[in-house]
Symmetry: C2
Subunit: 212 residues, 2 copies
């Protein structure tokens, strides 16, 4: 696999390829050309070939892609065939939605712990994982060495927890708050999920349509 020069845009398209190839498997499709995949994904065939070439290329001239093989290759690139220990902090509405809807095992992670500060939530068991008190976070991290943390916290609470986790050696975050972790911790690995950005883009596109 080539390293270093792969753009963030290519990397962010890989989960999408993975999802689409899963849909194709569900439909019983075993082989697909870059043109067909492009049409389906609203991309161009050359973009798809370029994306895959970043990782050495997977197609065969005149044959296209074997769906199963391609999906497995992408799973490997994404590390989905391995498993990293992850913790989740903040078991409110978003935290619960994540735990109940995300298949961690299929996405490269094992959820090994959940934390909250609310006494009413601590001790609850969500999807087989008990919620621990946030005061036990240091001890838990030193013993269990999570590789990543899913932060389902309000904006103001996210910075101190990110700082605490980085001090404990955890520096990869899936961040659901609008606090920008990069600003204070430029070396952290961060993926953000911003509900509201999607809504704003939708608003733009509705008015764009209206105006045209």
């Amino acid at each position: 696999m080539l390293k270093g020069a792969i753009s963030s845009l290519v990397i962010h398209r890989m989960p999408r390829y993975y999802r689409f190839l899963g849909d194709l498997q569900d439909e019983g499709v075993t082989r697909i050309s870059s043109k067909q995949l492009a049409d389906r994904m609203n991309l161009t065939a050359s973009q798809i070939r370029q994306d895959f070439n970043c990782f050495g290329g997977f197609g065969q001239q005149g044959y296209g892609y074997n769906v199963d093989v391609l999906r497995e290759e992408i799973a490997h690139i994404l590390g989905l065939d391995r498993s990293m220990p992850a913790i989740l902090i903040g078991v409110g509405n978003i935290g619960r939605a994540v735990v109940k809807n995300v298949n961690f095992e299929a996405k490269g992670f094992t959820l090994i712990g959940m934390f909250d500060e609310k006494e009413s939530v601590v001790g609850q068991v969500v999807k087989n994982t008990p919620v621990r008190h946030i005061s036990t976070l240091d001890e838990f991290c030193r013993e269990n060495k999570p590789a990543a943390a899913i932060l389902c916290l309000p904006k103001a609470a996210t910075k101190p927890i990110a700082q605490q986790l980085i001090n404990l050696g955890v520096n990869a975050f899936l961040n659901f708050s609008s606090y920008d972790i990069y600003l204070d911790f430029p070396d952290a690995i961060v993926e953000n999920v911003h509900f509201e950005d999607g809504l704003m883009t939708l608003s733009y596109r509705l008015h764009e349509k209206e105006n045209n």
Copy 2:
């Protein structure tokens, strides 16, 4: 405002600019250069100038940007100073997380109705909005003409509801499922929120770091 040729990438950066400018306002910053904004957002100054030029440009040579004015301009471009009626379908964990965490009014929408099929959920009031039975959706849409729907449904339930809504004249969606609305309804306006994509990208970046 220029129309038609603005790329999806530029459009998707606009909510991010809007968020960052809000942070600057909170910090009391009133003026910023494209270079300073770029450093903060992990972009280049020329990319920022290009992005804003798509909408006619907002800066003043040698002065930079007035934070308040720029944020207001972007709010206008995104339609946040207007309000479109929206409904939410599926009041499970994700639906609740959205209703409780998203400030619709500040993002260009008014939440006018919520729907679910579960008798135990129907009649509940979440953030001042009662949950209605999904069987009343047709009547409600004909009377209230929502412009957009937030779909917080499992994958299998999303397609028939999208079809029903499109038949009712609602064709803009914020979609939380992994069902790809574009495939069957290419004319719909769709923004997707994929929790799991972020987790997969995080997995990639953790292994990339590990491998280097």
